[in-house]
Subunit: 207 residues, 2 copies
């Protein structure tokens, strides 16, 4: 028994009908208990997890995976979960475990979104300085699900935008300590940052 295993979250009634649920990186048992308390099936359940749970609670983790729509993990976690080195092969295996969408985060190398045989790649913004990387992954997840909750659109096109939006938010997170940079952000800051992501990969393909 440990603190995490004893933690039994009770969802306030007003949360139980949420349409968008983000399961943070806790023990699969806690994640399952949150799902069980939802009054109706949310539109989207997204989930973060990590190697640690794969090592000590893989069976339970696999049960939770069957009940979610979108898994958000990093490249090493994707490799461990699937047993595949290639992220393309890893995605194919993981998408058979339950989720319809898979986001693989590669830190400074960007993020991949996999959905029904399609792949979208979102770059990370090349930064002159990374002041404090703490919380970048959670900021990505928050920006991603927040964008989806606001727009209510689960098309692949909109999921791509959500990945870009999450990446933009994460790029702010690392610029200052803790949530300092996020706390001072304006909508204009965010729009300008998203525009940078567009510029970064934009080219006219006329060959």
């Amino acid at each position: 028994m440990n603190v995490l295993a004893d933690f039994d979250p009770v969802l306030p009634e007003s949360y139980q009908s949420s349409e968008f649920v983000m399961l943070g990186n806790l023990t699969p048992d806690v994640q399952m208990r949150v799902i069980d308390q939802m009054a109706k099936r949310p539109k989207l359940i997204a989930m973060d997890t990590m190697n640690f749970w794969m090592n000590i609670a893989m069976e339970r983790l696999l049960e939770v995976l069957k009940r979610i729509d979108c898994l958000i993990i990093n490249d090493e976690e994707a490799r461990q979960l699937s047993g595949e080195r290639s992220l393309v092969k890893a995605s194919e295996k993981i998408l058979q475990m339950g989720p319809k969408y898979l986001v693989i985060k590669k830190g400074e190398h960007g993020a991949l979104l996999f959905y029904e045989g399609q792949i979208f790649f979102a770059p990370a913004l090349p930064l002159a300085e990374v002041f404090d990387p703490t919380g970048a992954g959670d900021t990505f997840a928050g920006g991603f699900i927040g964008f989806l909750a606001k727009s209510g659109d689960l098309s692949f096109e909109n999921m791509k935008r959500a990945v870009i939006f999450g990446s933009a938010m994460a790029s702010f997170c690392v610029e200052k300590f803790g949530i300092e940079r996020l706390a001072e952000l304006t909508n204009i800051d965010v729009k300008q940052r998203v525009a940078k992501f567009v510029d970064l990969v934009n080219f006219d393909a006329q060959l």
Copy 2:
């Protein structure tokens, strides 16, 4: 004295007026001797190099850098050449050493093109299988300079296309052994592959 230091390439006369020159990864002395034999200043001199030359011939390498237009190196080489961990800071220092354009290759993580304060990012194609990575960097360089030589256009927009084209060629190289895959390629194969790069990063930014 070693074999490389003794190698004294003699350019055939028909090569001496080439408008596009790609200096492969040899000793800076050999690269300099090639530049010296050009009858007139080429439109573009691109160059590859590596850590080894930085370790044993840095001074001479810096002299060559002053005479070229575009340096193509990988991320670790960019860090060693500049002494900067951040690739953005590294690019700023390297672009002060001579070249106007800098391409930093990140292998399976894509490539960055730096030019006058602007950054373009070309993804690598996520592949299910990498059969043989040998020659991917040289294939990238060949595709890049070949594209520029054919189009004759050195605008930033066209340099972006050249980076995508080089990345597409490199993605073929790794699919089979040696040059097997490259030798059998058709123009349609290449166009279809470039289209995959477009799809991979394409999204509608309407937030």
